[in-house]
Amino acid sequence: MSSITGDAVQQSGFNALDVSGLVKAFGTTKAVRGITFNVRKGEILGLLGPNGSGKSTTMKLVLGILKPDAGTVIVYGRSVAEDPIEVKNEMGYVPETPQIYEFLSGVEYLDFVGDMYSMAPAVKKERINQFLQALDLNGHENEMIGSYSQGMKQKIAITAALMNRPKLLIADEVLNGLDPRSARIVKDLLRNLAKEGVSILFSTHVLEIAEAICDKVVIMSQGTILAEGAIPELKKRAGLPGSTLEDIFLKITGTEDLREVAEALSR
C-alpha cells in the first residue's frame, strides 16, 4: 500500500475520509475492486448494496482492521495503514453484529471501552450515564450482556462507538435489531452528530432510512461502485425524478424485475 504523500494530505484537507483505489480479495474472491469515494466533514454517506456487495469489507478496510491489497484510506489527513492507533482514536465503529464481551455487564463493557480510549473516569461516567439514559438502558446496565436482547446489545455497541466523541463514525447496519423508538433516537442522534461536524459512513439495507438521513449515497455491487452522489442527483441521472431510492437501487443493481421471482416463490 502506498504511503501518504504531502499532496495527498493537502488534497484530503477538506475531507474526513478519502478512500482511493481500494482493492481487497479473500483467496480467489474479489470483495472490493478498486473503489474510490470520500466523505466530507459533517456528511452522512450511505453505503448501499445487495448482500455480498462488499460494504462490510469496505468498512473494515476504512477502520484499518483489514489490510487492503491496494489503495489508500486517509482519515483527516492520516493514513490508516501508517497511523492505525491515532486514526482509531478519531473513529467509532458499530459492527454489523455486535461482537462484545458477554460476560461483562453493559456498564462494565462501556467502562472497558472508555479505558481503551484512556478516558478520564469523570468523563467516562458522564458519557456512559448520558447514553444509558438516552437509549433506555437504565435498569439493565448491571446485567451481564449475555442476557441482553439483540437490540440492547446494539445500543451498547452504539454507545461504545460514540462515547469517545469520534470525528468519523463507521456504522455498519447500525439500526439492526432496534425497536422503533430506539431506531428513531439513533436516527436523530446521527443527524445531530452530523450537524456537530461528525462524519458518518453508514451502511444499510433499509433504503427508506438511507433516503431519510443520508446526504450522499454510494451504491455498490460485486465490490465496485455503481453510482455515487446525492439522492436527488441520482434520481435525475437515472431518469426517475419522482421515484424512490428503492426504485433507483433496483434499477442500478439490475434487480428491478422482482415480480416474477416473488410469483415463482409463491407457487
Partner: protein, 546 residues
C-alpha cells in the same frame, strides 16, 4: 432410539469439532471430513505398532525385565485407564460449552430424544479420542505378538473401545450436572452467586473425577478392604477382570465379567440419559453483577507499571475466567491434579510403603508447567469473536500481549506455588528438595507461559461453536509435545536429584549447578518465546481474524 438419527447427530457433532480455524489448506480440508479420524487412527496404530515392534525386538528377555509380565500388565490395565484419560481430556476440550450454545443448541428444539442425543454425543467423543485407543493398542500389539498373547489382544481391543464409550458417557453426565449447577444458581443472580457457581462447579468436577477414576477408587477400596480383591467391586475395572481371567485361562469367569462390562455400559447409557433428562434445563439466565450506581474503574494496576489499557484488559480477563462457564474447567484442572495424584498417595495402599517424596512432587511440578502451557495457549482464543472490540479500538498489540502475559503469569505462578507447596507439605520433603521445587516450579511456569503465548498468538481459534477450543488443533499438537520436552529439560535437575537419592548416590554440589543451568535455560526460552509471541501478536493484529 433411531440409529440413523444417532449417526447423523454424531457426524454433525464430529464435524463441529473438526472444522475449526482456517480452511482452504489441503491439510484443513483433509481434517474437515469425519472419515479423516479413521485414517488418522489407522496411521497412529500402524506407526505406534511399527516403532514399538523395533524396540521389542531389541529388548532382551531377562528376569529383571520380564516382557510377558509387561505385555500382560499393559493388556489388562489399559481398559481401566481409558475412562480416566478421556475424563481428563474432556476437562480441557469437552466441558467448555458456552452458556449461549447450551441454551440455543439446535438440538434442543429439534425432534431428538435425550437418549439419541446422549448416545450420539458420547459417540462423537469416542470418535475424537479414538486415536488414544489406536495408539495404546498399537503399542501393545508387538508385546502381545512376541508373547503369544494375540488372542488376549484381540479381546482387549473391543474392551478398550467399550471403555472409551463409557468415558464419553461420563463426560455427558458431568456436562449435564454442570449445566444444572449453572442454571439453578443463576435464576436472577448476583455477583456472589457467580463465585458460588464457580466453587460448586469445581467441586462437582473433582467429585466426578474421584468417584469415577479407577485408580482413586482402587486406592480407597484397597485401603478399606486391605486386599486387591476390591477390584471386583469397581465396574470400571471389570474389563480388566475379563482380560486377567482370559490370560489365566479361566474363560467362564472372563465371559462373566465380559457380560457384566457390557451390562455396565448399558447401565451407564441409561444413567447418562436420566441425568441429562433431569438436569438439562437450558433456561436463559439474567445475571446482575452489581446493584450499586456505576463507579468508573480507577485502574489500581497502573501502580504496578501497567497502562490503563493493560490494566483494563487484565480486569476484563479476570472477569472472563471467573464468570464464563466454559472457563471453569481451566480453574478445576489444578484441583483435579492435586486430588488425583495426592489422594491415592496420602491414603496409601495396604502393604505398600509410602511413595518417596520425589515420586509425589515431580508429577506435580511437571503438571504445574503443563498447566501454565495450557492456560497461556488459550489466552488469546478465549476472546472469541469479541476480539473485534480490541481490533477496532486504539490498542497496541504489545499492550494486549503484556496484559495477557501478566494475567496468565499471575495465575500460573499461583498454581505452581500451591501445587509444589501441597506436595512439599504432604510429601514431607527435605529442605533441599523443597527449595529446589520452589525455585524450579515458578521458573517452569514462566517459561511455559511465554512459550504458550507464542502459540496462542499464532494459532488462536476465535470460532464460537458449541464446544469452543480457543486454540487450533495444529497449535496444540505442536505446543504439547514440545512443551513437554521443555518441561522435562527444566525440571531435569530435580528428576536427577530424586533418582540419585533413590539409588543412594551422593551428588555433592552438582544439584545447585544443575538448578542454575535450568534457570538460565528457562530464562532464555522465556525471552525468546516472548519475542516470538510479540511478533505473532503484531501479525495477528495486522488484520482481523473473525
Amino acid at each position: 432410539m433411531n440409529p440413523k438419527k444417532i449417526a447423523k447427530i454424531t457426524t454433525v457433532l464430529v464435524k463441529s469439532q473438526l472444522r475449526s480455524g482456517r480452511s482452504g489448506r489441503a491439510s484443513a480440508k483433509f481434517f474437515n471430513r469425519p472419515s479423516s479420524i479413521l485414517i488418522l487412527d489407522v496411521v497412529v496404530f500402524v506407526l505406534s505398532a511399527a516403532i514399538v515392534s523395533r524396540i521389542v525386538q531389541s529388548i532382551p528377555n531377562t528376569p529383571q525385565f520380564d516382557l510377558r509380565s509387561v505385555a500382560i500388565q499393559a493388556l489388562v490395565f489399559t481398559p481401566a485407564l481409558i475412562p480416566a484419560l478421556i475424563f481428563i481430556a474432556s476437562l480441557l476440550f469437552e466441558l467448555s460449552v458456552s452458556s449461549k450454545f447450551a441454551a440455543s443448541d439446535t438440538l434442543n428444539w429439534m425432534p431428538v430424544s435425550q437418549a439419541e442425543y446422549v448416545t450420539a454425543s458420547s459417540l462423537s467423543i469416542c470418535a475424537m479420542y479414538s486415536f488414544i485407543v489406536a495408539a495404546a493398542y498399537g503399542v501393545i500389539l508387538p508385546f502381545a505378538l512376541a508373547q503369544g498373547l494375540i488372542y488376549v489382544w484381540a479381546l482387549a481391543v473391543p474392551l478398550g473401545f467399550l471403555a472409551l464409550f463409557v468415558g464419553g458417557l461420563l463426560v455427558e453426565m458431568l456436562r449435564a450436572t454442570l449445566n444444572r449447577v449453572s442454571s439453578s444458581m443463576l435464576g436472577r443472580a448476583r455477583r456472589g452467586t457467580l463465585f458460588l457457581r464457580l466453587v460448586v462447579s469445581i467441586f462437582v468436577i473433582v467429585v466426578f473425577q474421584l468417584f469415577f477414576n479407577p485408580l482413586v477408587l482402587f486406592s480407597v477400596l484397597s485401603s478399606l478392604s486391605g486386599s486387591v480383591s476390591a477390584a471386583f467391586a469397581i465396574p470400571f475395572v471389570w474389563p480388566t477382570e475379563v482380560l486377567s481371567y482370559a490370560v489365566a485361562g479361566d474363560y467362564v469367569q472372563s465371559a462373566l465379567f465380559g457380560i457384566l462390562s457390557v451390562l455396565f455400559a448399558g447401565f451407564m447409557v441409561l444413567l447418562a440419559v436420566r441425568v441429562r433428562s433431569k438436569f438439562w434445563s437450558p433456561a436463559p439466565v439474567t445475571v446482575v453483577v452489581s446493584r450499586g450506581e456505576y463507579a468508573p474503574s480507577v485502574g489500581r494496576l497502573t501502580r504496578f507499571g501497567f497502562t490503563s489499557v493493560e490494566s483494563a484488559i487484565i480486569r476484563k480477563d479476570f472477569k472472563s475466567l471467573s464468570r464464563r462457564r466454559e472457563m471453569i474447567p481451566f480453574l478445576a484442572i489444578p484441583v483435579v491434579f492435586v486430588a488425583v495424584i495426592v489422594l491415592p498417595q496420602t491414603l496409601g495402599r495396604s502393604g505398600v510403603s509410602p511413595a518417596p517424596a520425589g515420586v509425589l512432587s515431580f508429577p506435580l511440578l511437571f503438571l504445574a508447567g503443563i498447566y501454565a502451557l495450557i492456560f497461556s495457549t488459550i489466552s488469546i482464543g478465549e476472546e472469541g469473536k469479541a476480539i473485534l472490540t480490541l481490533y477496532s479500538l486504539p490498542v497496541q498489540p504489545g499492550q494486549v500481549l503484556r496484559a495477557k502475559a501478566a494475567f496468565a503469569l499471575l495465575f500460573t505462578l499461583t498454581v505452581s506455588f500451591v501445587l509444589v507447596g501441597v506436595a512439599s507439605l504432604l510429601g514431607k520433603f527435605e529442605l533441599e528438595t523443597a527449595v529446589e521445587s520452589l525455585v524450579l516450579a515458578p521458573a517452569l511456569a514462566i517459561e511455559l507461559t511465554f512459550y504458550g503465548l507464542g502459540f496462542a498468538t499464532r494459532f488462536p481459534d476465535f470460532a464460537e461453536r458449541p464446544r469452543p477450543r480457543f486454540i487450533r488443533p495444529a497449535g496444540m499438537l505442536i505446543a504439547m509435545p514440545t512443551g513437554l520436552v521443555l518441561s522435562l529439560i527444566t525440571s531435569s535437575p530435580f528428576l536427577i536429584t530424586v533418582l540419585a537419592t533413590s539409588f543412594g548416590l551422593e551428588l555433592g554440589s552438582l544439584p545447585i549447578v544443575l538448578v542454575g543451568a535450568a534457570l538460565v535455560f528457562a530464562a532464555v526460552v522465556a525471552l525468546l518465546s516472548y519475542r516470538w509471541a510479540l511478533a505473532g501478536m503484531k501479525a495477528l493484529f495486522s488484520e482481523v481474524q473473525v
